[in-house]
Amino acid sequence: MPKKNHSGDGTAAPLPVPPIDTWWWLSHKGTTTSFLCISLFALLIRSAVSMFPYSGAGTPPKFGDFEAQRHWMEITTNLPAIDWYRNGTNNDLTYWGLDYPPLTAYQSYIHGLLLRFFNPDSVSLFSSRGHESYIGKLLMRWTVLSSDALIFFPAALFFVLVYHRNRAKSQVAWHIAIILLNPCLILIDHGHFQYNCISLGLTVGAIAAVLCGSEVLTCVFFTLALSHKQMSAYFAPAFFSHLLGKCLRRKNPILSLLKLGIAVIVTFVIVWWPYLHSVDDFLMVLSRLAPFERGIYEDYVANFWCTTSILIKWKKLFTTPSLKFMSLAATVLASLPSMVHQIFSPSNEGFLYGLLNSSMAFYLFSFQVHEKSILMPFLAATLLALKIPDHFNHLTYYALFSMFPLLCRDNLLLPYLTLHLLFTLIYHSQLPKTKASSFSFTNFPGYVFLLRTHFVISLVLHVVYLTIQPPQKYPFLFDALIMILCFSYFVMFAIYTNYTQWNFSSHFRSADKEKKQI
């Protein structure tokens, strides 16, 4: 669609209306106004998805994530803080014990108070186990909606304002829509039922603070995000390496590092205060956060260990401690290139790529990864969407596809398809123009063919999964096929983004001859 130069120069021939950019009317009043408009639409979509079933709906005795969150509200409103992570007569840790850090517990407490005010039956100790009612579901859904609106949306606005400060305003609306209408986040938070919006929102706030240059704020936000969900640690290498790189360039690196360290420690102490009175308490919480006994992978997640376990039976060949070490080593190695790059040449653009790379490395190689963890790399990808639009399009498709079995189990097939449709519509509403990068997979012979075959196979798998029963001998055959397909795409994607980030140093430091590690 032809773009319009709004400031008419008056020297042109007398013509009627010049062609107008289709979405100009949405963004002509400024970024914040268009953000408000799009966020109203995003909230509408979230409210609509909330009407669909949640995880574990109507499946006693264990139910699902919804029941877990409700149970945490029950525990936190009825017991003192020190008992929340402790096994006791009133708190049976085998029935959905708390396994997120204290900020989740505080948030459950606040929401629990709300539920108790309007519907006490849903959070009364013991008797509310398996409680399912219209008003209970509605209140729980509204807690997620309000957390999203109060934490994720303002953080996204902060990011968009900072990121687009010095860029052309023609693609702001598109970018806002991509960030706010993140299909994976909507389906998991408002469908399956979780509170990822809080930790992801805090992370986005930290990222925006980095782009702004206020590093103390970054540390505060990121520590809060870590204290909400330990999975935020997927981004830790990127933050660490970028801040370290920046500090090393200051006049007094030790002082800068000290400032940031103090910010982290102070925030940490404030949040974890009830659990810092004795080492035992602290370790008790930590042990809940890292349930190593659950094994290196569960179910069928599209990461390295699970996919290769088809050929190499990791769980049988190695003990858990050695698997822990191997996954740690693999994760560190995978995130090393991007970390090294940022320490030696930190930049805002490189930082965003670093986030994507480190979270992808963690997703692929870390211990006990869930399908839902694709949210982390995906969030980083939405922030970078303007730079890697084609790859982002494919990533969305495969990220959603990797969660397809999970969503089918939750009876969320219609929202899955609809959000796919919505994403495609938004993506194609205004294709961003990008300069061709020096490295493009399209230069590789057969890449396009590979991608197309992937796509066709995935379509077939969609239909097969829904219609055909898997053979008795391999009941999870189709799950495994989906996992392999998604894993192969994620690997290609990770290689591309790592290479792109690594090449940044050649753009910035053509004069300096920095030794490169391959």
Binding site: V17, T22, W25, M51, L417, S429
Partner: protein, 504 residues
């Protein structure tokens, strides 16, 4: 350019479809069961029994074309799940199959609305066309009534818009034909029939004696043919009396249970107020035994003080209200003004009609959307009236689950309208030479309008939060009455504004 335009229209439609698909599990009113029952009736029974069947209380009360439409749909329903069209076993059937089927038929039938908008906006410039598309295809009222509450208004309004588009193009015969078709789908559209009649007579048939007579005969025969296609089988079976009585159930009361925000709300309140004051003053005023929502009970009137209102009275009042428009149409029939006149006719029908339902407000707001982009005053007027009518539909979706959805729909619609209109009118300002009086050409909401809209928010807070908190379940009619009255003020204002616009 045209391909681009089609793509964009389809884009809008697809985005609306995504939202509609997500609304599938929402609250369904009894209208859902009504339509399912009609699927069953038309499928399982022969034509001669369609208007006689009383297996369920939801009897067929739309004209025959709609019955044929349901018959067409029932073919697919049976393929999907035979129980849907079972007359007895399918009663109150609410399995996933019937919900998905019926909801998706409404989504598909909205394509006629898209076609109507496409034809109407062929000659309109880009920004205005996009805005009309947004106002019609993404109309919050349509989403709330058609896709949550459940009806087929989008489908029917599409035909109406098609008819208007042909009239605007000057192809009167087809326009008249399409209007006759719409009438045979839903007789409620007949409120605009006087406008069509006068306009077609004056514009099409007033062309010299020979051509005029020929055209009159052509038009007449087309209309008669349409009616014959619809009602023919029933006249042949001698059932026309039954069909008419089903279509016009005047046994119902002056007002629907939820009190549509029309003129009669004021009449009723005036009556109650006068009765109250007169009683206080010592006069002996009988408490009426009949109610407004019930039927005409014998000779007794539901009104204590003021004269009784009969269907005939409402008919006369509607006709009187439309008359200025008819006179204008007679004096100078301009194709460009047809949309305005039709919208005005439906406004009058809404304000003064018998047993009007809130949903009927869609009939005038959708045609008004086409007109809204024609001038700054139209835009300002539409901004106000569409917010008022959307809010008046709130009581239809009374369950808490839909509360965020309806509020967000209204807020989103207001914001999009504001952005669109400011873009439209500041853009024109930028393109013109800078003349004096710039503030007049900018889209701004006046103080009174702002005050009224803020009052709307207050009404919502009172009826939704303060009333249940302080008064609980007592005086349950008060919030509804408050909403109806407040919205009726806005709609009366719209009527007067439209009347003045037509007269000048």
């Amino acid at each position: 350019m045209d391909g681009d335009r089609r793509h964009l229209l389809l884009w809008f439609f697809a985005a609306a479809t995504a939202v509609k698909l997500l609304l599938i599990p929402s609250y369904r009113s009894t209208d859902f069961e009504v339509h399912r029952n009609w699927l069953a009736i038309t499928h399982s029974l022969p034509l001669s029994e369609w208007y006689f069947d009383e297996t369920s209380q939801w009897t067929l009360d739309y004209p025959p074309f709609f019955a044929y439409f349901e018959r067409f749909l029932s073919f697919f329903a049976r393929l999907l799940d035979p129980k849907i069209v079972d007359l007895h076993k399918g009663l109150d059937y609410s399995a996933d199959s019937v919900v998905y089927f019926q909801r998706i038929t409404v989504i598909f039938s909205d394509l006629s609305l898209l076609l109507g908008v496409y034809r109407l906006t062929r000659k309109v410039e880009t920004l205005k066309r996009n805005l009309i598309c947004v106002l019609v295809v993404w109309s919050p009222g349509l989403l709330m009534v058609d896709h949550v509450h459940f009806q087929y208004n989008g489908f029917l309004l599409g035909w109406l818009l098609l008819s208007v588009s042909f009239l605007q193009d000057g192809r009167d015969l087809i326009g008249g034909f399409l209007f006759a078709v719409v009438l045979c789908f839903k007789h409620l559209f007949a409120v605009a029939a006087p406008v069509y009649f006068v306009y077609l007579l004056r514009h099409y048939c007033w062309a010299g004696l020979a051509t005029g007579l020929r055209r009159l005969v052509a038009l007449g025969s087309v209309v008669v043919a349409v009616f014959a296609a619809a009602f023919g089988p029933f006249i042949y079976n001698g059932q026309i009396q039954q069909v008419i009585s089903r279509m016009f159930p005047f046994g119902r009361g002056l007002c629907h249970a939820y009190w549509a925000p029309n003129f009669w709300v004021f009449y009723i309140i005036l009556d109650k107020g006068l009765a109250f004051t007169l009683r206080k003053l010592g006069f002996d005023v009988q408490v009426p035994s009949a109610s407004f929502t019930g039927g005409l009970v014998g000779d007794s009137s539901p009104f204590a003080v003021l004269p009784q209102i009969t269907p005939l009275t409402t008919f006369v009042m509607v006709l009187l209200a439309i008359t200025p428009c008819l006179i204008k149409a007679w004096k100078k029939p301009q194709p460009g003004l047809v949309g305005r006149w039709i919208a005005y006719a439906y406004t009058c029908g809404f304000l003064f009609g018998w047993h009007v339902h809130e949903k009927a407000s869609l009939h005038f707001t959708i045609p008004l959307a086409i007109v809204a982009v024609q001038s700054l005053e139209d835009a300002k007027h539409y901004f106000l009236v569409s917010i008022v009518y959307c809010y008046s539909l709130f009581p239809l979706l009374y369950e808490p689950q839909e509360y965020p959805i309806k509020v967000l729909l209204l807020l989103l619609h207001s914001m999009v309208m504001w952005l669109g209109f400011t873009a439209l009118y500041s853009d024109e300002k930028a393109l013109k030479e800078k003349e004096g009086g710039e503030s007049k050409s900018k889209f701004e909401i006046g103080c009174i309008e702002k005050g009224y809209l803020i009052g709307l928010v207050l009404v919502e807070i009172v009826s939704q939060f303060l009333h249940p908190y302080f008064l609980g379940d007592r005086y349950a009619f008060m919030p509804l009455m408050l909403i109806s009255t407040y919205c009726a003020v806005g709609i009366m204002y719209s009527w007067i504004w439209q009347l003045l616009k037509i007269l000048t």
